[in-house]
């Protein structure tokens, strides 16, 4: 049985919001959200539903076979359960987020180099690696666009 923490409620709210679902929406295996959040205890359902998963796949510019999707969604949910432990860590007030482990004080940090433009000597080699070029440009199919109101 899972105790539902504030951040889990936040996630549920986010998922609902992300998928633009109504407040009383019910997901298979997650029958009654009101009961779930009010009681604060039930077996944790998969955090990433098939609907949310498909949305992530679209954002990630991927296409998956049904078999791949099933495997990847299962693994994602397992990984998320493992990182839930982060929420239980007592973090002292004022603990800064660390962009790097190693601090970069001035004596360690590389000095700024001069802001100088330079021609890349490998330009021809770089273009030679492209799937399709024409007159020095990369060639792609039509770029999708939407008409704005």
């Amino acid at each position: 049985m899972w105790k539902v923490e504030w951040w889990q409620r936040g996630m549920i709210t986010f998922v609902m919001h992300y998928l633009a679902l109504p407040d009383d929406y019910s997901i298979a295996g997650w029958p009654d959200l009101g009961w779930y959040t009010a009681r604060g205890a039930c077996k944790m359902p998969d955090q990433i539903s098939p609907e949310l998963f498909n949305h992530l796949v679209e954002l990630a510019a991927l296409e998956l076979t049904a078999e791949e999707a099933e495997y990847l969604r299962d693994q994602l949910n397992k990984q998320l359960k493992s990182i839930e432990e982060l929420a239980a860590i007592p973090i002292p007030e004022g603990t800064p987020p660390a962009a790097h482990g190693v601090p970069f004080p001035p004596d360690v940090r590389a000095p700024l180099r001069k802001d100088q433009a330079a021609q890349a000597p490998e330009a021809a080699g770089i273009k030679a690696g492209a799937p399709q070029t024409s007159e020095g440009y990369f060639v792609v199919p039509g770029i999708p666009h939407e008409e704005l109101d």
């Binding site: 510019a61 397992k78 987020p97 660390a98 190693v102 080699g125 492209a130």
Partner: protein, 529 residues
């Protein structure tokens, strides 16, 4: 004679070549002969997964370039020029580094046709030092794994001590090649343990330097705040020689530290007298999420591994070090959960550049528009591990989540860093020069045992990942063989830019165990070679 040359250390080879007792071409031919004897077919797209007799360390063997490099070294020697410190020493490069005019694949289909137009800084420095590149070695796809099984290039590397087992990863090709005598050195990368874990599995030395000690220019990025290029070698001295060459500032990488590079070989033999080396109860166990119970569980390390750490502590103590027990490293267990978040966010960001437009694989299907081109290209080009990391990274960094997940993980990184700062604080309770731990919670596992379970696989890095979060340097050393004749590794972790001290302690341990029976044992693939 030539098989013997392949087993010499880089230090020995460089001496012989400098004295012209052996030519660089002879050393290179010996390494190429060893590759032919033990490596089997190189990994290729859609290759067989069930090859279990050879090492299969390579994706590309660049024989002709290697011979040309070796001839150039010999020509310089003949003219009386002073060759570089690694002149004529054969080495391999993990195929995550760009090397000009050489296929640079990241073990992924999406880069399977990518011939790099420039050379990564650490590779350029190795070549400038006279080392001879034998080729590019295999890895987990984009370095995402701890076993090499996720490579798109099969057969994937096998453990030279037992080819039914994995070599570890992601620098598995590097560690396997060095263990089998296919080059004296290899250039690897370590994001959560990717040099140290395979080094431990294959019975070789592997060092993750301080973050920023070695330039990342030309390294195909995974976790940009965690990635560290570093040496894989058979001896501590060889690792020190290689670090001398690859370390240092680089105008192409703003995170490459300006800190001066000492001669890492200078104090190697000075021993550990007076050094304070710590043991922590928080590294005596692994903590992992049990899917059955839904709870976090802790288990002590297997006895053979725990005993190897204690034996190493005894050896260092006998050599004059002060062993400090009971050092708290309270946040060690949070290393993997925090890594699941930070590394995925960075990986997802880094993988967006692969789109079938500027380089690499492009779908042969007819996409209806640019977005369709991206989707089809990436669907074909990425294997399951990159796809998983992109999806996870996008999920945990979504605006509404980043506070709970990403920012929190970055704060946990501060707490992990705090553990190390306290342990190494010269005015603190423990005043450590280094922390001694096991490198891995198990020896090399059988191929197929863990692959597919991305959570279990990640926990193979539990004892190595804290050093990546903290950015501090760490080295894995061979410390014996278990009852199944599989290598066991121990790890020394030190404060920022303390590589010289770590290498000195590592060398003291190596010297203290030189006469032990396990040191004379050789990997199974070398039987009859």
């Amino acid at each position: 004679m030539s098989a013997h040359l392949a087993d010499l250390s880089a230090h020995q080879l460089a001496e012989l070549i400098r004295k012209k007792e052996v030519s660089a071409v002879e050393a290179t031919e010996a390494a190429l002969e060893r590759i032919r004897a033990v490596d089997g077919e190189p990994g290729r797209l859609d290759g067989p997964r069930d090859e279990v007799e050879k090492v299969h360390a390579f994706i590309t063997v660049s024989e002709e370039q290697a011979r040309a490099q070796a001839q150039a070294v010999d020509a310089r020697l003949a003219k009386g020029e002073v060759p570089g410190p690694l002149a004529g020493v054969p080495y391999t490069v993990k195929d995550i580094f760009a090397v000009k005019d050489v296929l640079s694949t990241a073990a992924s289909r999406i880069l399977s046709n990518f011939v790099a137009p420039y050379t990564a800084t650490p590779v350029a420095r190795m070549n400038a030092a006279g080392a001879v590149m034998l080729g590019k070695v295999n890895l987990d796809e984009f370095t995402y794994g701890s076993s090499n099984e996720s490579s798109a290039y099969q057969p994937a590397p096998r453990n030279p001590w037992d080819p039914t087992r994995v070599p570890g990863g992601s620098s598995g090709g590097s560690a396997a090649a060095v263990a089998a005598g296919e080059g004296a050195l290899s250039l690897g990368t370590d994001t959560a343990g990717s040099i140290r874990q395979p080094a431990a599995f294959c019975g070789v030395v592997g060092m993750k330097p301080t973050y920023g000690r070695v330039s990342r220019y030309g390294l195909i990025a995974f976790g940009s705040s965690l990635d560290c290029p570093g040496p894989v070698a058979r001896t501590v001295r060889d690792a020190a020689m290689m670090l001398n060459v690859i370390a240092g500032p680089d105008a192409h990488d703003s995170t490459a530290a300006a800190t001066p590079v000492p001669d890492y070989t200078a104090g190697l033999e000075e021993g550990v007298k007076g050094m304070r080396i710590g043991l922590s109860p928080d590294y005596d166990k692994i903590t992992f999420f049990n899917h059955e119970t839904g709870e976090m569980e802790s288990q002590p390390l297997p006895k053979e591994i725990a005993d190897a750490v204690l034996r190493a502590a005894d050896k260092l103590s006998d050599a004059g070090a002060r062993i400090v027990e009971g050092v708290p490293m309270a946040h060690t267990r949070y290393g993997i959960p925090a890594y699941f978040v930070i590394s995925r966010v960075e990986a997802a960001s880094n993988l967006h550049r692969f789109d079938g437009v500027k380089y690499g694989h492009r779908t042969a299907l007819k996409p209806k528009d640019l977005r369709d081109l991206y989707r089809k290209t990436r669907a074909e080009g990425f294997g399951p591990q990159p796809k998983l990391r992109i999806l996870m990274g996008m999920y945990v960094s979504a605006a509404q989540y980043s506070e709970q997940y990403y920012r929190r993980a970055l704060q946990v990184r501060s707490l992990i860093r705090g553990d190390f700062d306290a342990a190494f604080d010269g005015n603190g309770a423990h005043k450590l020069d280094a922390l001694l731990t096991a490198t891995t919670p198990t020896p090399a596992f059988p191929v197929g045992d863990v692959y597919g379970d991305s959570v279990l696989m990640q926990y193979a890095d539990q004892l190595t990942v804290p050093a990546n979060h903290a950015g501090v340097p760490a080295i894995s050393l061979p410390a014996g063989l278990d009852s199944a004749r599989l290598p066991i590794g121990v790890q020394l972790i030190g404060p920022d830019f303390s590589e010289a001290t770590l290498l000195r302690a590592a060398r003291a341990f190596e010297a203290a165990t030189e006469g032990e029976a396990w040191r004379a044992e050789r990997p199974a693939v070398l039987a009859g070679v």
